[in-house]
């Protein structure tokens, strides 16, 4: 019997396969280098332009004229070649691909490490570099080593204020930053059914923080319902008995709100241990936690109160922002004193819109807390949306268990 990666790639773990790629995407950052590599290859054509996506999200709108110039070239190229293109303000590439584009069973590559997010749909989705991507533009396919798989067995259900992000940080802490290098994670067990697509995307998103190539869920009724809204009628994938390289068992009842201590994503501590640590900024957004469910949860906690620290919120897509507007959530966020950024990566990579100063501490719902990532000398603690909300209300790290009564 096969793991999901083996079924999709059509070969046993350890073998090398040449595959056609169903969808290939770049963003404004990696797209520039990809275009340069593609030009130096003198490839001249794009094998399957309808399968190629150029999605602007990293530094949008442009922060200076150098960036603007690079974006201008890439934008013109995308239009000229008839590639799928989304401009500034539409949203983060992984989120957009997750809004009715990525489908179960597909092979998807993105020139970004968090492409693994789309494993939430039962696709084999993985990140590649720019030169790899240029060859994929030219040829329509690439090679893979079929990964071994770690089975992540989820049982029970989340309780209290713990959310998918806490579960994600918990498994990263257990597997460590290179515990799954070259491998895939497969999330299985009776705890999966209750997880929404938004939650699954959060869990798949952090797979790469363990070194994994992909983080997959089998498509089920939840996936079906979600994709039906986008007009797709998909089948469900059923897990078969298969041999995992290793298994990790997590009882969801045991998951508590946690933080990842800089500069490592795998240094995990319960929020309760660090309560009261003063904060300079709270950031809610990114491909990890900028979805509608996240904004709604944040608003639910801060409703009717005021944040005590600068709080930046970047919806992960225009669709998310529209929904937040129509449902009144956006208004609540504004009334609580939050600053709303345009859909995109925001300050996640430290290029603009909320860069940290020397000695500043940020509580972020993102996926990376590497040294200086959001600004030289700034420190990033990673946490869930509920923890971010509770902490924004006091200006210091605060457990959501107490803030939500």
């Amino acid at each position: 019997m096969n793991t999901l990666s083996e079924s999709i790639l059509g070969a046993r773990a350890g073998s090398y396969v040449d595959c056609r790629v169903d969808r290939a995407y770049v963003h404004d950052g990696t797209g520039v280098l990809t275009l340069e590599a593609w030009k130096s290859m003198k490839a001249e054509t794009i094998a399957r332009p309808d399968r190629v996506y150029v999605l602007f999200d990293h530094i949008v709108p442009a922060n200076n004229s150098v960036t603007a110039g690079l974006q201008h070239d890439l934008r013109s190229f995308a239009r000229e070649k008839g590639l799928n293109f989304t401009d500034v303000g539409t949203g983060i590439c992984h989120q957009l691909m997750g809004e009715g584009i990525a489908l179960p069973g597909e092979i998807i590559v993105g020139a970004d490490s968090h492409t693994c997010t789309l494993g939430a749909f039962g696709a084999f989705a993985t990140g590649v570099g720019a030169t790899d991507m240029a060859a994929i533009w030219a040829e329509g396919g690439t090679w893979f080593r079929v990964p071994e798989t770690i089975g992540v067995n989820l049982s029970g259900s989340l309780s209290g204020q713990a959310e998918a992000k806490d579960l994600a940080l918990t498994y990263v802490g257990r597997l460590t930053m290179d515990g799954a290098t070259y491998m895939a994670l497969e999330f299985v067990g009776d705890g999966v059914a209750a997880l929404s697509i938004d939650s699954r995307m959060t869990l798949s998103n952090l797979a790469v923080e363990t070194g994994a190539k992909a983080g997959l869920f089998y498509s089920d009724d939840v996936t079906r319902r979600y994709l039906r809204e986008y007009g797709h009628n998909i089948g469900v994938q059923r897990p078969a008995e298969c041999s995992y390289h290793r298994e990790l068992n997590i009882d969801l009842e045991d998951v508590v709100p946690v933080v990842a201590i800089p500069p490592r994503v795998d240094t995990i501590k319960p929020v309760a241990d660090l309560e009261g640590m003063p904060l300079d900024q709270v950031f809610v957004g990114t491909c990890t936690n900028g979805r509608f469910e996240d904004l709604a949860r944040f608003a639910g906690i801060v409703r009717g109160r005021k944040v005590k620290v600068r709080t930046l919120i970047a919806p992960s897509s225009q669709k998310v922002l529209t929904r937040a507007t129509e449902s009144g959530i956006l208004h609540e966020l504004l009334k609580a004193g939050c600053t709303i950024l345009p859909p995109g990566c925001g300050p996640c990579l430290g290029a603009h819109q909320g860069v940290l100063g020397e000695g500043e501490v940020c509580l972020s719902t993102a996926n990376r807390n590497f040294r200086n990532r959001m600004g030289v000398g700034g420190e990033i603690y990673l946490a869930s949306v509920a923890t971010a909300a509770a902490s924004a209300l006091t200006g210091a790290l605060e457990s959501p268990e107490e803030a939500v009564r």
């Binding site: 960036t67 990140g127 590649v128």
Partner: protein, 156 residues
């Protein structure tokens, strides 16, 4: 294919933000990346990378998929990177841009001469020798062409 350099030791989990920080990415000027390589770890390191063979701990190149990290090393004159394990995107990127990467768990002393024979599968550091898995013919082809771009062009 044989590569030679002088050992430069580094710890485990060197991430791509350390190799080249996100704030320097938005340019086509590769000298920018050379100038700022490893800046957040040791600002004096960049001018001393020429001719070095980096010998690092596990999980070298983890984090972002930015190919600029591998390019920065190659353009700085780094001859290759030896580590017990690499993050997979960095590993692919390095091969694709023609920077030799060798999986080997070995003892490093800075300044010692290092030779890696990628065909025979032997790494020699000072007096010590280590066996490594030889690279696949396809990888060797790409590396000796100088990267995937050159390899692709030569096939046409």
């Amino acid at each position: 294919m044989k590569i030679e350099g002088t050992a430069l030791c580094m710890g485990p989990d060197i991430d791509t933000d350390i190799i080249i920080a996100g704030r320097y990415l938005r340019t086509r000027d590769r000298r920018e990346w050379v100038k700022h390589a490893f800046e957040d770890m040791d600002p004096s390191l960049a001018p001393r990378l020429e001719g070095k063979m980096i010998i690092a701990g596990k999980n070298f190149g983890c984090g972002s998929s930015r190919e600029q990290a591998a390019i920065a090393l190659k353009e700085s004159g780094v001859k290759g990177v030896i580590a017990p394990s690499f993050a997979r995107i960095f590993y692919r990127n390095a091969i694709n841009i023609g920077l030799p990467v060798v999986e080997c768990d070995c003892t490093c002393r800075s300044g010692e001469p290092v030779t890696a024979d990628l065909v025979e599968g032997i790494v020699t550091i000072g007096e010590r020798s280590y066996r490594i898995r030889p690279l696949s013919p396809r990888m060797l082809d790409i590396l000796s062409a100088g990267g995937l771009v050159e390899h692709w062009r030569s096939r046409r």
